[in-house]
């Protein structure tokens, strides 16, 4: 990586902005179809009623909430990579920081849609916002659901501003190497950035503060999401371990998604000289760590249920491994803890097919983890007469397809229209290495 010159870095990244092939547009069309499927399902639900989904009493939170937590989780590693690793001066994050930050912004957008979808009467969404109104009705700031509104909207705003701030010097590079309409657009977007000394002086300082502020924010956001559950009295939810457990799980799934996106990106855009095998290996090592933390959290939940001697709690965890949703538990244990342990072996860590496969497996497992937590808890709460089962209905599958399509569509559009690797940070890496 240190052998690259500044010009080569610019050229490699700018080459990715060349006019896309027919295959790219075909993929875009397929994803647009997916988004339209999701939108149509949501529209059908709005006109027909929330009952078209599989939610019921007692399982009132179905895949909409699972997907919400899943996407918030995916969003976390972007901030981990761009902010926390920036504070630790981990140089290996530079090639993947931009794509990870972008992933964060798009994942929060997808996550933010689900409370709207789950709301049913979406036109009443403004009740979640503290707007002055004639009836003097205000959100209840004692409710974890309102904590969530505050935390997620803060996270979306902060991560979008962080992302754009990081982009500005690179937008100037594109402006300086383009002509015509693209030049005019990037001239406006880059805010007239010239890399003047006073700009860099304040930019470096401001970026550092961004990183310092985003770090506690990222930890708080998934903690707040976990309190949606932990502050309820439902067995399997009401536990103090949820905040660190959710944060570790979020970073675990987010890092896996980074690999899922980076590996094809590296191949398609010929980023091998920039996103080196060492970078991917470092992500894999971090996944081993987060996987072990997640495994410890799974084990601790069972231990505490047993140690508490609380019959309802014990029953809940007994049903987690033997009940109707036991398959979900085995998926999550296998995919999130046991399979990632294979990354301890160097040969697995340095094999692209293995890395890509394991990243997909973790994404799958983390979705099931949220299923087990969200559905399993309320399906078997205190009294057997109120137990119930849940299975997603076609409308929910459609919305899920729509959210995944939206995420990949936005990422695909980003890759071809904005610099997907930070040229400035890569040049800094080269400069320090040289």
């Amino acid at each position: 990586m240190s052998e690259l010159t500044y010009a080569e870095i610019d050229q490699t990244v700018l080459d990715t902005l060349s006019p896309p092939s027919g295959g790219y547009w075909l993929l875009v069309m397929v994803l647009i179809l997916g988004v339209l499927t999701g939108a149509a399902c949501w529209a059908y639900q709005i006109f027909t009623g929330i009952g078209v989904g599989g939610q019921n009493i007692p399982v009132a939170w179905g895949t909409y909430l699972i997907n919400f937590v899943f996407w918030v989780g995916i969003a976390h590693s972007g901030t981990l990579i761009s902010a926390i690793l920036h504070l630790f001066r981990a140089g290996w994050r530079n090639p993947i920081a931009r794509a990870a930050e972008t992933m964060t912004v798009f994942a929060v957008c997808c996550a933010g849609l689900f409370p709207f979808i789950h709301l049913g009467r979406v036109w009443q969404v403004y009740y979640m916002i503290p707007l002055p109104n004639q009836r003097l009705l205000w959100p209840n700031f004692l409710s974890p659901l309102i904590f969530d509104v505050v935390a997620i909207s803060t996270y979306l705003t902060v991560s979008a501003l962080f992302w754009y701030t990081g982009l500005v010097p690179d937008l100037a590079v594109v402006r300086d190497r383009s002509t015509g309409l693209r030049h005019r657009i990037f001239r406006v977007l880059s805010l007239g950035w010239t890399g003047a000394h006073h700009q860099w002086l304040n930019y470096s300082r401001g970026y550092l503060f961004f990183a310092a502020l985003a770090t506690p924010l990222v930890i708080s956001v998934h903690s707040v999401v976990s309190w949606d559950f932990a502050l309820g009295v439902v067995p399997g939810w009401h536990t103090t371990i949820f905040a660190p457990y959710f944060v570790a799980g979020a970073i675990h799934s987010g890092l896996a998604m980074v690999l899922t996106l980076m590996i094809p990106l590296r191949r398609i855009f010929r980023y091998e000289a920039i996103i080196t095998m060492n970078v991917l290996e470092n992500v894999a090592k971090t996944i081993v760590l987060t996987g072990l933390i997640v495994g410890l959290a799974y084990g601790t939940e069972f231990f505490i249920a047993w140690y508490s001697r609380n019959p309802v709690e014990m029953e809940s965890f007994y049903l987690r491994v033997t009940g109707e949703y036991a398959f979900g538990f085995y998926f999550m244990a296998l995919c999130n803890v046991l399979i990632p342990v294979l990354l301890l072996f160097k040969a697995v860590r340095r094999s692209i097919p293995s890395l890509f496969t394991i990243s997909l497996v973790i994404n799958f497992g983390m979705w099931w983890e949220r299923f087990v937590i969200i559905i399993g808890g309320v399906a078997h709460d205190f009294a057997p007469h109120s137990w119930g089962l849940y299975a997603p209905r076609p409308v929910e599958y459609g919305v899920m397809v729509g959210s995944f399509s939206l995420f990949f569509l936005l990422f695909l559009l980003f890759c071809k229209h904005l610099p997907s690797v930070s040229m400035t940070e890569m040049k800094e890496t080269v400069s320090h290495a040289g």
């Binding site: 500044y6 890399g195 006073h198 860099w200 930019y203």
Partner: protein, 168 residues
């Protein structure tokens, strides 16, 4: 006599650019700006610049946000004085979460405002005396002199190992 000609010295080497900046004033030329593709600590050292004032904006934003978050939660709670789940009307511990999130949010707003104000962005007029190579691999030093000394300044930059671009 006012300096009315601006010349941009373009250097491929950061150290040469820093040396040129250092020697501009003793040679009787006015230093205007330095451009670089990356944050250059060497240039900032020569200019004796250590920290930008952005942090003060961030701090101000954070303080405003902290009190705004608490004030919003308390204000809305006392509108109805309704006890929910047996908790006090003004419950500081849950309200701390709102205060914390607002602290971060407003700190970031302060940070962005500070960044824009201190970096004087957006600044499209700055592009008039700028060379696109400065975002690639060149370090630019913009200096000014009287029209009569234009040749001297050109020689100065060339002797320091740079290319020269003139802005009349």
């Amino acid at each position: 006599m006012p300096a009315d000609t601006q010349l941009l010295g373009l250097f491929k080497d950061e150290a040469k650019a820093a040396r040129a900046i250092q020697e501009l004033a003793p040679a009787g030329f006015q230093f205007r700006r330095a451009h670089s593709p990356i944050p250059s600590h060497r240039i900032l050292e020569v200019l004796k610049l250590t920290k930008g004032p952005v942090g003060w904006f961030t701090l101000a934003g954070g303080i405003i946000g902290f009190f705004t978050g608490f004030a919003l939660a308390i204000f809305t709670a006392v509108q109805w004085n309704l006890i929910v789940s047996g908790k006090p009307i003004v419950s500081l511990i849950p309200f701390f979460i709102v205060g914390f999130e607002f602290t971060i949010l407003f700190s970031v707003f302060g940070n962005v405002v500070g960044l824009l104000v201190c970096s004087r962005l957006p600044d499209y007029r700055g592009l008039e005396t700028y060379d696109p190579r400065c975002s690639g691999e060149h370090f630019g030093v913009l200096a000014a002199c009287d029209t009569g000394r234009k040749g001297e300044l050109m020689d100065f930059f060339q002797k320091k190992g740079g290319e020269v671009r003139v802005f009349e």
